[in-house]
């Protein structure tokens, strides 16, 4: 385990504009949740990158195992028919 004097790690998500998703931008260390938001503000929004911040403890993120990648993701590779690319788009539809 890491040194207990080390601050916990938080993953930071920023919403660039109203209506957009929060996107993962990186991580920061902070002593608590309040400070995680402040650090994220100081580190990741200095150039007007966002209007909203989410911070999640890195240890609370459950990740897939890279060793499972074949079993998880390979089977989708040869199923191109799952992409909606076989539809004919009517001329009347302008913004798709």
């Amino acid at each position: 385990m890491s040194d207990s004097r080390e601050w916990p790690l938080y993953e930071i998500f920023i919403r660039a504009r109203g209506g957009l998703d929060h996107k993962h931008v990186g991580s920061i260390h902070a002593v608590d949740a309040t400070q995680a938001i402040e650090h994220a503000r100081d580190v990741y929004t200095r150039r007007q990158e966002g209007v909203s911040i989410w911070a999640v403890k890195s240890t609370d993120i459950i990740a897939s195992d890279p060793a499972d990648a074949d079993a998880f993701f390979e089977p989708a590779r040869d199923k191109a028919y799952r992409h909606p690319t076989f539809y004919e788009i009517p001329d009347e539809v302008k913004t798709l």
């Binding site: 601050w7 260390h29 002593v31 608590d32 309040t34 400070q35 402040e38 503000r41 100081d42 580190v43």
Partner: protein, 250 residues
Amino acid sequence: MSNARFTYVLRLADANLILAQRLGELIGHGPALEEDLGLANIALDLMGQARMLLTYAGEIEGKGRTEDTLAFFREHRDFLNPTLVEQPNGDFGQTIVRQFLVDAWQMELYGRLVDSTDARLVGIAAKALKETRYHLRYSANWVVRLGDGTPESHDRVQRAIDTLWPFVAELFEPDAIDAEMEQVGVAADLAEMRAGWNTTVNEVLSQATLERPQNQKYQWWGKRGDHSEHLGPMLAEMQYMQRTYPGAQW
């Protein structure tokens, strides 16, 4: 009249300029990358406020001095910042306590200057108030964290408060310039400011389990140009480049 206004604005400008320079010394030396950036952000906000105020002071004076000439070509005694802001960074606790005491002061200041009769100050204060609100949040949270943290962090931050407390009185001690500017509705009322500041400081100190030192009579008059020994070396570093190569740009 315009002379008092010049002095009043210059005092506000120098408080920001000198504190920004102090915080700038920490860039690359912060206790953590996140704090390094946090303090640098605050320094940049303060520098922005200093620039607006210095420019305005130069215009009031009307002798063609710009923000740069005022920052780089004035002598030690012509700087009018309160003595508190020139105090050294010390350990992180001292940096944070100094910041907290100043942030709480600037909250009261800008919160009132938005109602000043001086339209330029109103504009500057409105912008500065938003920035200061964040600065105070940042520094107050740290004071609480350190004060209510480990025995060592508690002792260190208490020591910082005791060290810096004698410089606090000057922030609220009016002189003739303050009185004149207050009378024409330009300046903020220092007694009102002190009351507001006391509320903030008492609340944060008690949350941080820290003791508020006894009030002391003012002994320092940085705002009149009587500075502690710490300002000189700092100005030497700040002004060196422009004094060696006057007008140099990059």
